[in-house]
């Protein structure tokens, strides 16, 4: 049985290499997304400056979270009103760690800062254990929501 599991794990692993889903966007969306590395590369990127735990300012480049929400059909912009204001994005990492952002925090019509899904810092790709994608929240004094190894973004209603 254990062997079988191992074997299927290997097969699964092999399958993963050819078409590995890096990031999922799920929940209260019109189009759930299963994005591979190439899909993510093709999305609009921007650069932000932010201070990490080391107290130094770094240049991060990445995808503004709002772009992913647009692509998945989340209620943002003109639709972000009424009961949609109690929606939130739960961002989940490989290890299972989760952090939460209220939708208005991510929407440029509400917020002046751009929260990004960063893939590079100061011009180099994020190292393993941190990347391929990490949330960066410019201006946030404590980087506890700068969640590393992001694997899924789930949009939910507060119930």
């Amino acid at each position: 049985m254990k062997k079988l599991l191992l074997l299927s794990g290997c097969l699964f692993g092999a399958w993963n290499v050819s078409a590995q889903v890096i990031l999922k966007v799920t929940g209260e969306v019109t189009t759930p997304l299963q994005l591979q590395a190439s899909d993510l590369k093709a999305l609009p990127h921007t650069e932000v400056k932010a201070v990490d735990k080391d107290q130094k300012e770094h240049h991060y480049s990445g995808i503004p979270l709002i772009e992913l929400l647009k692509k998945a059909g989340v209620t943002i912009g003109g639709q972000l009103r009424g009961e949609n204001l109690v929606k939130y994005a739960l961002v989940r990492a490989t290890d299972g760690y989760e952090v939460l952002f209220a939708l208005p925090e991510l929407d440029p019509e509400f917020s002046t800062r751009t929260i990004v899904l960063a893939d590079a810092v100061d011009g180099t790709a994020l190292p393993t254990g941190v990347g391929p994608y990490r949330i960066v929240v410019p201006g946030e004094k404590k980087p506890a929501r700068w969640i590393r190894e992001v694997r899924e973004i789930e949009i939910r209603f507060a119930k």
Partner: protein, 346 residues
């Protein structure tokens, strides 16, 4: 009018004797919070919990009537068994170390590799496993059906005396959800009812803090993974046991390469009584565990980023950490009569 009332109330009483589903109120510690799910089709009742407790302690559930859940999950060891690997009904060992059953209500993925989503789902696995109880749940259900003892108990808990694996699992899950441990000296300290010794206090600070050499702060940052009121986060990590890990751990469940050799972060509540430690029981004592984190973390491709810098704790820092870990031993939990073997107290 009065006659009707009497009739009505006796009907109500009758209904209650047929199916005594008295709600069971869990004593949820405020600091633990309510981020847990009890399946809507398995509400907690006094009768369900009592039945689950009998099943947990009954060796009828094993192939040759020799062992029960409680053989590998002993109350005085916070429901572990003191072995590196447990010994099943056939005398063979399990693949991994037995786990504490404290505060399962807040666990979101069961087992070391997190492969089981609910306690109801989980309970059937050790029943059937050849190196645990070794008896198909359907056969166990038939065995229980033939007793005089169990059918009325299922009737009271679930309104039917026809015993099925699903109902057995539901009762076991109800009992397991009651196993809450939140009365350790550390909890009393938080309520200002216990004063930590100087060593315990230094250990607490080391446990909670991140090292910051620029500010002269020493910290072991255990809280990063074992933090929160329950002393675990629902996360999976590779804590550097081996340079070439043999057990793929979480990867077997998700298929992701990044999950290779990651295991669930276990609770540190009652940790002084739950040795040997780690998924394979490789460390006999807490001293060995602390030595591991301090000096022997092995690098491999999925080693947690937070364990990459060596800690190099001094020997007095190690003693302080261990002193603190002992404040998590909840004797009230280890001796709570409600969790003990009901066949002995009857």
């Amino acid at each position: 009018m009065l006659r009707w009332l009497i009739l009505l109330s006796s009907a109500v009483v009758l209904a209650f004797t047929l199916r005594n589903d008295t709600p069971y109120t869990l004593p949820i510690p405020a600091s633990f919070g309510h981020r847990y799910t009890i399946p809507a089709d398995n509400p907690m009742t006094l009768e369900g919990v009592a039945l689950g407790r009998f099943l947990f302690y009954d060796s009828l559930l094993s192939k040759n009537n020799t062992i029960s859940c409680s053989s590998c999950h002993q109350q005085n060891r916070a429901f572990t068994d003191g072995f590196a690997l447990s010994i099943g009904v056939n005398g063979r060992t399990t693949a991994r170390n037995s786990m504490s059953l404290a505060n399962l209500l807040w666990v979101r993925h069961f087992f070391w590799d997190g492969h089981s989503p609910t306690l109801e789902d989980q309970a059937l696995i050790p029943m059937a496993h050849p190196d645990e109880l070794g008896l198909a749940p359907e056969k166990a259900a038939r065995k229980l059906q033939q007793t005089a003892f169990y059918p009325p108990k299922f009737k009271r808990a679930f309104g039917t005396d026809s015993i099925t694996p699903l109902l057995m699992a539901k009762a076991l899950a109800q009992f397991e959800r009651t196993l809450i441990s939140a009365q350790a000296p550390y909890d009393q300290y938080l309520r200002h009812q216990y004063t930590l010794t100087a060593a315990e206090k230094r250990g607490l600070d080391l446990f909670m803090r991140t090292s910051d050499p620029t500010k002269g702060i020493r910290g072991a940052n255990c809280t990063h993974c074992h933090g929160g009121a329950q002393f675990f986060q629902n996360v999976f990590h590779n804590n550097g046991l081996d340079a070439s890990p043999l057990d793929p751990g979480r990867q077997e469940v998700t298929g992701f390469d990044a999950d290779f050799a990651r295991f669930r972060v276990p609770t540190l509540r009652n940790i002084a009584v739950t040795g040997p430690y780690m998924h394979d029981g490789r460390f006999r004592t807490l001293d060995e565990v602390i030595d591991h984190y301090s000096e022997h973390v092995a690098s491999s491709r999925t080693l947690s980023t937070d364990l990459k810098g060596p800690m190099h704790l001094t020997s007095s820092e190690k003693k302080d950490l261990i002193a603190f870990l002992h404040t998590l031993t909840d004797t009230e939990f280890l001796q709570n009569p409600a969790f003990s073997n009901p066949f002995l107290t009857q």
